[in-house]
């Protein structure tokens, strides 16, 4: 039986689906890894909420410019064609539907595409929303990058989210360790699954009822 995809492999898989010329926001954390796997020859403009289009790779050690950080507050570089703008304009880009794609992490996704990724509802924890709600409602396509289940084995694709929502009916597609799943009008549709898992076993990893696309394909990624 094939192993589930690692996080770098999920990032690689997502990167294959980002078209040349796309304007993309990669959420803080796991989704940032997607940038490392964009296929050669594709020019993708990465957006950062704090006011940058054209994020480049991390600077070499000692070359950091702390006025040039990404939304995760890490030093970055700017690619040719990049631009700076102020924060309110940056969110005009987000909310105004100008981003082709946004890749976000998730605690939970519902069968109809609701996203929960900012709070577990734990009142003892300091709340923090950041830009996730704007991105969830604003970008044209929302890709979620996550494992199908929590570390404790609880499914994250649910009939309805139990955690506080980030956005309603916003998720278009989930890229996970076992499968690529579209959120269609009638619920989650499995487009790809890894070799060696059968659909029943996959369904066991989700609470929401999944449907297997007739033309489903094998989910695979190179060793990374």
């Amino acid at each position: 039986m094939a192993e589930p995809l690692t996080r770098p492999q999920i990032a690689w898989r997502i990167a294959q689906d980002i078209p040349d010329g796309a304007y993309v926001n990669l959420g803080i954390g796991m989704p940032e890894m997607v940038a490392d796997h964009l296929p050669d020859g594709r020019e993708v403009m990465l957006h950062s909420e704090n006011g940058i289009l054209g994020l480049g790779p991390s600077p070499a050690e000692g070359e950091e410019d702390w006025d040039l950080i990404n939304a995760g507050k890490k030093p970055v570089t700017l690619v040719p064609g990049g631009a700076y703008f102020h924060h309110t304009d940056s969110f005009a880009i987000v909310r105004g539907g100008h981003l082709d794609l946004c890749v976000l992490g998730a605690y939970q996704v519902s069968a109809h595409g609701d996203l929960a990724n900012w709070s577990t509802g734990d009142e003892s924890r300091l709340p923090g929303i950041g830009g996730a709600m704007d991105l969830a409602m604003g970008a044209n396509g929302i890709f979620v990058m996550m494992e199908l289940c929590t570390r404790k084995g609880a499914p994250k694709i649910l009939e309805n989210c139990t955690y506080p929502l980030t956005g309603q009916r916003c998720v278009d597609r989930i890229y996970s360790d076992y499968a690529v799943i579209d959120i269609a009008d009638d619920g989650p549709v499995v487009r790809e699954m890894i070799d060696g898992i059968d659909f029943a076993a996959l369904q066991g990893k989700a609470e929401a009822r999944l449907r297997l696309a007739e033309d489903w394909r094998t989910l695979a990624a190179p060793d990374l």
Binding site: M45, L78, G81, A83, F85, A92, V94, R95, G96, G138
Partner: protein, 221 residues
């Protein structure tokens, strides 16, 4: 590779449909993309809703498009500038609709369209005809009118220098409606005097980031 440079005006304007709402930058004559607007006559789209601060000067540019009978409705703040002749004739003859909007509200509605907002409350127009039929609400002790966003199917803007990424700078007060209209166009086309090759414009000087721009065409001064 990103390359938004169109070789011809016709290529840049391809696909504009009848009935489109077209945002056209400019204030008076400054910043009007005359080449694109006149290209639109050639392109042939009709039954247009045109959004511009004014309503054309003389018989060229916007006035020529109006004279060609392509515009069903004009949305503007001030259609009777010095030298405006075509629009007043059409309006007097009942051949064109007019929506007149306070200038700041016009601009803010366009920005709201580009910024994904559903509307905003502005103090402008409270207690005037402009507020007729609109919601007026007292917020924090002051009255405001609810105004709704304007989006364009197409925005035609005039920049100064561009690069292949669609980044734009403007020149002096010709900047005016360009940046907000570029945001609010589902398809935004810019005419510019210069296209910078190589690594793109200085990222600190860019006024309109390329994400808002779909095509760029170089025109002669």
């Amino acid at each position: 590779m990103i390359d938004k440079i169109a070789r011809t005006v016709a290529e840049a304007l391809e696909g504009i449909e009848d009935g489109s709402t077209v945002l056209v930058s400019g204030f008076g004559e400054a910043g009007v993309p005359n080449v694109l607007v006149e290209g639109l006559i050639e392109q042939g789209a009709r039954d247009l809703v045109l959004v511009n601060n004014n309503a054309g000067v003389g018989r060229h540019g916007i006035a020529a498009l109006l004279a060609a009978g392509r515009v069903r409705k004009m949305v503007c703040s001030f259609p009777r500038s010095v030298g405006s002749v075509v629009f007043p004739e059409l309006y007097a003859a009942g051949k064109i609709e007019l929506e007149v909007v306070p200038q700041g509200t016009l601009s803010e509605r366009i920005r709201a369209g580009g910024a994904g907002l559903g509307g905003f409350f502005t103090p402008t127009g409270v207690g005037t005809q402009v507020a007729d039929g609109k919601e007026v609400r007292r917020i924090d002790g002051r009255d405001y009118v609810l105004e709704l966003p304007i989006r364009g199917d197409v925005a035609l803007v005039k920049g100064h220098v561009a690069d292949r990424f669609g980044n734009l700078t403007y020149r002096k007060a010709a900047r005016n409606f360009g940046p907000s209209m570029a945001m609010a166009g589902r398809r935004t086309i810019a005419e510019v005097y210069e296209i910078r090759n190589g690594d793109g414009l200085d990222p600190e000087r860019i006024v309109t980031p390329g994400i808002f721009v779909d095509a760029v065409v170089k025109v002669e001064r």
